[in-house]
Every structure is written in C-alpha cells, then in structure tokens.
C-alpha cells in the first residue's frame, strides 16, 4: 500500500507541473503591459519600466516561467499588491475557511447522496424512489447561489433561525457552536447539486450491481435483504461511486466560489473574485495554483481509497 501511495504521489508531479504551465500561459494572455495594469494608466514610464524589471517581466517568457516556478518551489508565491502581504500567507488563511465550508459540504453530499441513491434503487419505482428522483431533479437544476439566497430569505430573515452571513458572529462569536450555526446554510446550499448528482449515479450503480450473480448468492445464503442492499450491493457499487465522489469534490470546490459570495464567507473563492476585480494578478495566479494542487492531492486520496476498497486493483 505504501508503495502504491508513493507511486501515485510520483505520478502527480507532472500533473502539478502541467497545472503551473497552464496557469502561466493563461496569465501570459493578459493584453497589454501587466505593470501598467498594476500601476494604473497614470504611472510614469520610468515607474512602469522599473516595476517590469522588478517583476522580471523584461525577460523572455520561458525564463519567466522557470523563475516563477523556482520561487514557488521555495514557498515564494510573490506579493499581493492590493493587500500588501505575501500571496501564500493570504491564500493559506483563506483556504482554511474554504476547506471548512467545502469539506463539510463534501461530507454532506457524499453521505446523503449515497444514502438517497441506495434507498432509491432499493425501492425502485416505489414512492420513495419517485420522491427522491423528483427532489434530485430539482436539486441539480437549482443554481446554488439562488438556493443560498432563498435560504437566507427563509431561515435568516423570516424565521431568524440562523445568521445571515459570515463565518463567525462579530460580537461574542468565535467558538465551535457559533461556527456551526454559520456553516449550516452555506454548506447545505453548496452540497445540494452534488447530492443530486451522487444520488443519481449511486442509484444506477446500485441497480447495475443488484442484477449481478453474487447478489443472488447472498440471497441464496439467506442474508437478510438489509444486508444484501447495504453490505453486499453497496460495497460493490462503491467501486463506481468513489471516482464520482472525486469528481464531485471538484464541483463542490467550484461551487464554493458562489456560496462564499452569497454568504460573505471569507474563503479563497471570494478572495479570487476580489483579486480579479482589482487586477491583483499574482494573487489570482498563486491562489489558482495552490487550490488546483490541493485538488490533485485530494484525488490521490480518492485513488488510494479506491484501491483499499477493491483488492483487484493492482497496487
């Protein structure tokens, strides 16, 4: 197993390089002069030239890529000019908040999605199946940001059960119960689409598995139907559900950007949008690379989980 994890980590290296290259090339598409973009159109030509030199922007493209990459490998992602602090510090701080939000949503959508899918398959064409299918259809059709706004309207404004926005209460907050109260709505809104997608897929994976011969064997042994569904069938279905969980993690992370805007959550998504609007290019660049790298590492965890579940995968 340790060997397999090492092998997967090794194979992630070229992907990480690819990511930096893609991000770098996209950023190289910036029209005009980045220094002017940073300093604004009233900057003097001398200042522009100096900044270009300071940023190393007068070097050829490929040199600039390797300088940037080398700096990043040493933990130097550059400085955010708008915030006047190192990019990495800001990104890590913001990413923590995103991780709390997206992680909760991911756990929610994995659990509820799989459970809904299994129940739906076990009761195929029954009332529960129809109800779940309808809820899933609604869930995957509603934009998460709209859902978030409607939840605010209902639960925060009308019913006053939960706080409108933010991560902690401004006065007297900061403890775990406070965080949880602030987390409920954004995490739910963020997970709804993924719940729908996972439920759908789990349902069809279960239906596929339930027709297999080993399910008949389990029944012939006299295993109770509950064990047939939740132990035998679900374990086999997880082989095709786990990769989808990995893909959905990416969608949850993406959706977090909208949800962070709706709920004023101090995460990396809101940071990126602000940075784009302020044309804080280094912050965008560093944030994107950092989050993408985390996602790649997360997918390695998914692969390892898959290989632990399925002994037929060569490790």
């Amino acid at each position: 197993m340790a060997g397999y994890i090492f092998k997967r980590l090794l194979s992630a290296i070229p992907v990480l390089f690819g990511i930096t290259l893609i991000v770098f090339l996209i950023m190289a598409m910036i029209p005009g002069d980045p220094a002017t973009a940073i300093l604004g159109s009233y900057a003097t030509p001398e200042n522009v030239a100096k900044l270009n030199r300071d940023l190393g922007l007068d070097a050829p493209l490929w040199q600039r890529y390797f300088i940037w990459l080398g700096n990043m490998l040493q933990g130097d992602f550059g400085r955010s000019f708008a915030l006047n602090r190192p990019v990495l510090d800001e990104v890590i701080e913001r990413f923590n908040a995103t991780l709390i939000l997206a992680g909760t949503a991911f756990i929610l959508c994995s659990l509820l999605g799989v459970i809904a899918g299994v129940v739906s398959a076990a009761r195929q064409y029954g009332f529960a199946d129809k109800a779940i299918t309808f809820a899933v259809l609604l869930g995957i059709s509603i934009p998460s940001f709209f859902l978030g706004m409607m939840m605010v309207l209902l639960f925060a404004v009308n019913l006053k059960w939960l706080p409108v926005s933010g991560m902690y209460a401004i006065y007297g907050g900061g403890d775990l119960p406070d965080l949880i109260r602030h987390l409920i709505m954004p995490a739910t809104a963020l997970s709804v689409v993924a719940i729908g997608v996972i439920a759908r897929l789990s349902r069809s994976a279960m239906l596929e598995v339930l027709r297999q011969d080993f399910i008949r064997t389990a029944r012939a042994k006299g295993v109770h139907e509950f064990g047939v569904i939740w132990r035998h069938a679900l374990k086999a279905a997880m082989v095709s559900i786990i990769p989808v969980l990995g893909i959905q993690a990416g969608f949850v992370l993406s959706g977090a950007v909208y949800i962070e805007m709706v709920f004023q959550w101090p995460g990396v998504g809101r940071m990126l949008v602000d940075a784009i609007l302020k044309r804080d290019i280094l912050l965008v660049q560093g944030g994107v690379v950092f989050v993408a790298a985390c996602y790649v590492l997360f997918n390695i965890i998914v692969d390892v989980a898959q290989s632990m579940l399925d002994p037929r995968i060569k490790t």
Binding site: V15, I19, I22, I26, A28, I30, P31, A122, Q124, L137, L138, S141, P143, F145, F146, M149, L153, M206, L207, L210, R211, Q212, D213, R216, T217, R219, A220, K221, G222, V223, H224, E225, G227, V228, K235, A236, V239, G250, F251, L253, S254, G255, M261, V262, L272, V273, A275, I276, L277, R279, I281, V284, V288, V291, A292, Y295, V296, D310, P311, R312
Partner: protein
Amino acid sequence: MRQFFALLFRNRLAAAGAIVMAIVVVLALLTPVLPLADPDVTNTGDRFIRPFSDGHLLGTDHLGRDLLSRLLWGTRLSLAVGFAAALIAATIGSAIGIIAGYFGGRTDNIIMRGVDMLMAFPYILLALAIVAALGPGLFNALIAVAAVNVPFFARNIRGITVSIAHKEFVDAARLSGMGDMRIILSEVLPNVIPVIVIAMSTTIGWMILETAGLSFLGLGSQPPQADLGSMLGEARSALITNPHTSIVPGAMILVIVMAINLLGDGIRDALDPRLKSGALSRPKPATLVDKNRTEMPPGDPEALLSIRDLRTEFRIKDKIYKAVGGVDLSVRPGECLGIIGESGSGKSVTALSVMGLVSSPPGIITAGSVAFKGEELVGASYKTLRAYRGDRVAYIFQDPLATLHPLFRIGDQLTEAITSHHAIPKKEANQRAIELLRAVRIPNAESRAKSFPHELSGGMRQRVGIAMALANDPDVIIADEPTTALDVTVQAQILALLNDLRRERGLAIIFITHDFGVVAQLCDRVAVMYAGRIVEEGDSADILGNPVHPYTSRLMACVPELGGGKRELEAIPGLPPVVNNLPAGCAFAERCANRQPQCTNQEIELIGTGSRSVRCLFPEKSLVEDRELQ
C-alpha cells in the same frame, strides 16, 4: 427517428421539458418585437415596485427598470451566450478529439495528456484564471466557459473517433488515395456529428448556469447590459428588503435549467435500449408469485422437497416466456436427482423457483406448489423463505467467479452464511468457516480464508461455493451446473467430493447439468427437461441404458464415447422452440423423427408406471413393448 420521438414524448416529464423550453425560446426570440418597456431606462422614482402592479407586471428593480422587460432581455442574452459557448466548446473540442482519435499515436498521446491536465482543474479555477487574464466582461466569460468545456468534448469525441478510424470504410477511403483532411470531413465527421449534438444538448444547461454564475460574481456581463446571472447579482444587495428582484431572475434560471435537464434525461432514456427491455429493473428479494394462481395441494408427503405443477414465466413487455411449464419433481432424503436438458430448457429456472430466487421482475411464479417437508413455499412470506435459504435448502451455482462477492474475503463470506442463521460468536463462526474449507479439501484453509475470490483458481472457488452451501448442514443442496465452468480433471474431483459429502451427511442433492456423464456418476434418478417440461423421468441407470423419449435418445446420441469408437455422432436438427410461442402438443415434434399428426393436436401427458414415466405418444420402438411402460 420517429420511434425516438414517440419514446421521448411518451415520457411525460420530457415532453413537459420540451414544451417549457420551446415557450422560453420563442419568448426570447420574440422579445425585440414584444410591446415591452425599455429594459435600460432608469426611473429612480419608481424603484422596487412590487410585482403585479399596473404597468409593471413583475415590478421594477433598484433603478426602477421594468423587471419583465429585463427578464426577457436577460433570458435572451443568457440563452444566446449559453448556446454560443456550447457551440464553440463543441466545435473546438470535437476538432481536437477527431484529430487525436484519427491520427492516434504520438499526436493522440500529447493532446490527451494536455486534456487530462485541463481536467485536473476544478472548472471554476480555470474559468477564473481566464477571466482574470482577459478582464471581466460577458464575451470573456463566454470564452472562459467554452474553454473550460473543451476537454469534455475532446475526450468524448476522441473515443468515438478511435472506434470509427479503424472501420473498413475509412480504410477503403484511405486506399483510394483520399487525403486525411477529406477523409475526416467526408467519412469521419458525418458519423461523429450525432454524438456531438447529443453531448451539446446535455451540456447546454451547464453552460447557461456557468455563464450566469460568472455574471453573478460580477465577472460576466457589465451594466447596463444584463443577463439572468448579473440581474441576480445586482439584486442580491436588496435581497432582504425587496426579494422579488432576486426571485424573478433566479426562478427563470431554475425553469430553464430544469426544462433542459428533463429534456436531456428524456433523450438519454429514449436512446438507451436497456431501459426499453426493462433490463435495468432491480430484482426483488423473492420471486413474485401470481396472486390469482390456482393453488395446488403439496405433492408427495414423504418427500423432503416436492414440486408440483410448477409454472414460472418471464414477462418482458407484452411477451410471455413460459420458462417452466408445469414441472413435477420430488427428492427424498439422501437421494440425488439429476435434471438434464439443453440450455434454455428451464432447468435452472425450476431450481431457482424453489427458494424464490428467480429475478423478478421479469420472473413470476404463476402456478404450482413447492413443499419442503410438507411446508408450502410458493407464496410463503419473505421471512419464511429467508429462514430456509442457505439453512435447509442451499445452492451451489455455476461460475464461482461471478457468484462470489469480489470484494469480500472468502472466510468472511462463509462466516456470513453461518451468522445469517445462527447467532454465534464471530470467533466460533470463523473457526467453523475454516473447518468447512477443510471439509471441501482446500489446503492451508487458515490462510486461504483470508484470500479474495480472484486470488483462487476456478476449482478452488467452486470448492468455496460448495463449502458455503454446506455451512449450515442443509437437508437439500441444489447444484446448478457446478462443474460446467471447470476443466475435466477438476470436474471429476468436485463430483467425487459432492458424492462423498452426500454419503457422509445424508444430503439430498438436486443436480442440474447437461452432461450425461455427470448423471451416470452421481445421480440416482434423472429427469430430462425440454422447453420447460419434463419429458422423461426414471432411475438414471435405466434411462441411460434405455432412453424411451425420442429427445432423450437423440440427446444421448450427441455424447461422444471415449474409446467406444465407431458410432456416428449426431446433432439434433433444428433448435428448441422459443418459449414465448410454444406449439400445441409436443414441443419436440418439430425436430422428432417419429412425429405423427396426433403429436401436435393434443396435450400429451407424462405417463408411466413405477419409477419411470415419459411424455410421448410414440416412444422409441424397441421400448413400446416394454411391459413396464404399459
């Protein structure tokens, strides 16, 4: 094509989606000619007018602009952008996919590596990076959304192209001297376009949602121009005081995306042939039993297991396949009964019907009785059936690779068979599992118990299957072709093992096979099945030495004899009848050399005396005089 639309519209939800989408598209197209207020004229005196007021059906927004007008113009813009993004992504992505798939080799390798890299991103990061580079704006958001979806098309279309690029008609075009470009345009592209269109129709909802999302973040359309996303984004600050300005555009996005999803699901379902055949149905815990069946008193009271006039059908769409058409069988303690017949003769379905293990739907038991020690099992509760399954009546199946759970260790699978019926401590159950593995002569039982099924050989796996059947010391074992997937020496070992176990434990065995050799070696009695019915039954030595039914004798003539030499092997001409359309009278008449007109115009009974019976009006000549039969 017409069938496709018929299927699509039989799905009422899909039809509803299609209608809603059509209305939205027509409204969007007609927007410029409808009598609407100017969407961009501000009038701060009239801000936040509620919906359903005079002059403003949906009210006004924070700048006093007419919401209905802005909604329709915004919808028009959102649809146009979503559609344009889908078209761009489909065109570029498909071009990349076709090139990679058509040229293959290194080109393919390099391109697909790049595509994989792009797919390693959560999509929004890529979109944000592109917008960050190009600057906020609707057109740039469109480019970002299209770019993010290019890899999806490239990958799908490459897959299709690879399968086409090696077809004969492409080779023919190449041999006739056509250039690559012309082949791609005239041979490959026409075959790929349907797939592209389907992929587009399923992603267009996504594209609309994604561009709306970017606009919502303020990175898409810029004021005063507004699509649905930016309307929602601008309304957000007034959410609490004036929710209608948010609800109007939000609900519109919901309606559009939902209609597209419904339509997309409908298209997918209409194209998936498995849904039509009902092959995706989940089999119920026990086979359905027809409530209106004619009930039967249980047969032979002395028998351990007795089956009387059992009828099991498969109902697929409007066809009824009568897999088992009235079977009578019984087995006594310690007896081995063989059931022999060609594939599709109904022998497995008969066996599975006993414990309600026939997949249902589509299977259903329509008549008859199955009694275990006098207790009726047809129509019995799930609880009763489950209590007997694996405890008193156990099964051994063919192909143990498919019938053992691939992800559980075999020791655990054995333990489970025990603990499903007996509440004993786990440790004791494990010990028993290892004993069982020893009983079926598996070497190193302790370490083998920790193996997964795929780590064992076919013969070993079948021994595990047998061990599992023995787990609770059952009274009857039903073995459904347990040796068919094995090679001959292993087969002999397994048969010897079963025979030993039978003698040691006084088991009754029902052995299903298509091999007369197996019958000779193991079975006391044998029943020959054809088209869902028993055509001949008796002591196996008797039947093997003296087949009476023409089918039995023809079947035996098909068996090669080792060293026996000069006999001609005969195949039976023709095929078994399809059981959804059985002929009247004898089902074998069509292929029978002794056929007479009477054979096909009346029901033929299974008649016999003593231990032998046959379902035939004109049994093999040499035996017609046989006193035992008359």
